[in-house]
């Protein structure tokens, strides 16, 4: 199967909790545990798929990996070194090495900037290239994601959702990162556009060797693109392994339920699967309590 790879980024025993809104001034604060004992390793050049239902902690984990979410416990390591975001030098290197693409292609691009400025921004922040080199790189990136040179002077609102997502991907690739966190990058796109974007991501990985943390709730897409898959449920990673293994021989009941939830175009298969899903849901409910 896949050859063993060096760990690029690892998350170790991370806990994150959020304060709930107080119900009264004198009531004690209550906490919602968003992540609990979460550990995950992403190898160089690898894609790790992260699946789970809404509210399972996928996006919180993405924020932890991006260094946007303070942790109550645990560490994030980049190439074995602990990421300390209080030190400016390591912060700068980390911010360059790890980039993000978010779900909403309408909200993720600053509407007041042209595409050229948007693509230039992360490189300007990293401050490693000259203006001329950055201009060349902007053109290179545009070509990579299939934008023409004259589109660079346009504003985000002049593009379709799929084009915008490709701009967001180009922006993420601009500072030559080691890891791109893709938080539901195709969920908001049409199915035909989804496959275009997935193909683009795979092509980029093949040429640049970048790693992906690919977050989605559609297991079929995740299986297609990922080397490994981690399944999250209620703030924990309940199963992690090679993509095919997790999909074909799921060991955790929640994973089985998730797999059984995938829709099928054929009504007879669909009906059979519905029966199976109900059985699994009952078994799951017996083991873990209520699940809706």
């Amino acid at each position: 199967m896949n050859p063993p790879v060096d760990p690029l980024l690892s998350v170790e025993d991370v806990h994150v909790r959020f304060a709930r809104r107080r119900r009264g001034f004198w009531r004690p604060r209550t906490w919602h545990t968003a992540l609990s004992e979460v550990s995950l390793t992403i190898g160089a050049g690898q894609t790790v798929g992260l699946v789970g239902e809404s509210g399972s902690g996928k996006s919180t984990l993405a924020r932890v990996v991006l260094g946007l979410q303070p942790r109550d416990q645990g560490q994030v390591r980049l190439r074995g070194e602990e990421v300390d975001l209080t030190r400016p030098d390591t912060t700068r290197a980390f911010r360059r090495a790890v980039q993000a693409v978010f779900q909403d292609p309408y909200g993720s691009l600053n509407p007041t900037m042209t595409v050229a400025t948007i693509l230039d921004e992360p490189m300007r922040i990293a401050g490693e290239l000259s203006t001329r080199d950055r201009q060349d790189r902007v053109r290179e990136l545009a070509e990579l994601v299939g934008l023409t040179a004259d589109q660079l002077d346009r504003y985000p609102y002049q593009f379709s959702g799929g084009q915008r997502q490709r701009i967001a991907i180009a922006r993420a690739l601009a500072p030559a990162p080691d890891l791109v966190v893709l938080d539901e990058p195709v969920s908001a796109l049409d199915v035909s556009i989804q496959s275009q974007v997935i193909d683009l991501l795979e092509r980029i990985q093949a040429t640049t060797g970048v790693s992906y943390l690919f977050i989605a709730h559609d297991l079929a897409v995740v299986r297609h693109i990922s080397h490994r898959i981690a399944v999250m449920y209620r703030g924990r990673i309940v199963e992690e392994g090679k993509a095919d293994q997790v999909c074909d021989e799921p060991s955790h009941p929640y994973t089985r339920l998730l797999l059984a939830s995938a829709l099928d175009a054929d009504p007879t298969t669909s009906a059979r699967r519905r029966e199976r899903r109900r059985g699994l849901a009952r078994a799951f409910a017996d083991e873990f309590g209520a699940h809706t």
Binding site: L68, R95, G107, S108, L109, P111, E121, P122, I125, Y155
Partner: protein, 314 residues
């Protein structure tokens, strides 16, 4: 862009014609008779008729209007019925007062509103935000004449730092001019600043939740830069909109504060003219006010285009 500006400036002309025409005929419907002010109580009908004939008010309204309009296009806006002073001179004296107060009030409202709004937005829902929002609610509720009284009492009478009354033209010294307009500007700017603070807070909170802000943070842009460069510009449109309304309000609504500081500004001239029915002065005030408002609107539209590229092309 240039064409948009020119078109808008050309549009000002028909608008002013419409506004002044409507204002003239509405004024003619007014029950106030200037002869009452001139003749005092209980005049005879013969005396009233004589005054009307002298002032030209016995002619048909349309004749009066065309006479006024004929003068207006050559820059002669007529004269006051009472002081016989040309309207242009009257306005030329009042306008600097009101413009100073408007700009002063605007500056105070921005200096007060923007930082507080930004502070609140960055701490949305937390203690600092709640305190700031509470303070803003309080400012907004403070009537400007009451604040003016307190300011005069404290800073002018007790401390003697600023003059209590009167306006010094800027030509007689920038320092004195500044000292003169400081207190009235404060009185005007505080509640206007509350509105700016509110609008800035809510607009900025909305923008800070956008994914491009999160992306910029993930790219390593400092919080200060993210707010200054990304968020404020995107939050600016609703803020400049209320600022434009503030300018309109300050320009026309500073009458009370002008009175308190004994400054003969635009609002004072306007209210005197309306109450005594001084038709040429009323007309002059309306034309100038309309022109100022149209300029403010033009600047507002230009700022939209600057802040939002979507507006630029359409």
């Amino acid at each position: 862009m240039l064409r948009v500006v020119l078109t808008r400036i050309l549009l000002v002309v028909p608008l002013i014609i419409v506004v002044s025409t409507v204002a003239f005929f509405l004024g003619a419907l007014s029950p106030i008779d200037p002869a009452d002010s001139i003749l005092g109580p209980d005049p005879t009908q013969a005396q009233v008729d004589a005054v009307h004939a002298q002032l030209g008010l016995d002619r048909p309204v349309t004749t009066q209007f065309f006479e006024w309009a004929g003068g207006a296009v050559t820059g002669d806006l007529g004269a006051s019925l009472f002081s016989h002073e040309p309207v242009t001179d009257l306005l030329a004296r009042a306008l600097p007062v009101t413009l100073s107060l408007t700009l002063g009030g605007l500056l105070i409202s921005l200096l007060l509103g923007l930082p507080v709004g930004i502070f609140s937005a960055l701490r949305a829902g937390r203690l600092g935000d709640r305190i700031a929002t509470g303070a803003v609610t309080f400012w907004q509720a403070v009537p400007n004449f009451w604040l003016a009284l307190l300011l005069i009492l404290f800073f002018a009478v007790n401390l003697g730092w600023f003059p209590a009354v009167g306006y010094t033209p800027i030509s007689e010294g920038v320092g004195d001019w500044l000292r003169g307009i400081t207190l009235p500007s404060l009185a005007l700017g505080v509640s206007a600043g509350a509105v700016v603070a509110r609008q800035t807070r809510s607009a900025l909170i909305g923008v800070l939740q956008q994914e491009y802000v999160r992306t910029a943070m993930a790219q390593g842009l400092s919080r200060r830069r993210v707010v200054g460069k990304y968020a404020l510009r995107n939050a600016a449109v609703p803020v400049v909109t209320v600022v434009a309304f503030e300018v309109a309000g300050l320009f026309g609504g500073s009458i009370v504060v002008e009175r308190m500081f004994s400054m003969r500004g635009f609002g004072t001239v306007a209210i005197d003219a309306v109450l005594r029915r001084d038709p040429d002065v009323v007309q002059g005030v309306i034309v100038v006010a309309a022109a100022v408002m149209l300029v403010v609107q033009l600047l507002l539209d230009l700022s939209y285009a600057w802040f939002n590229p979507k507006v630029r092309l359409s």
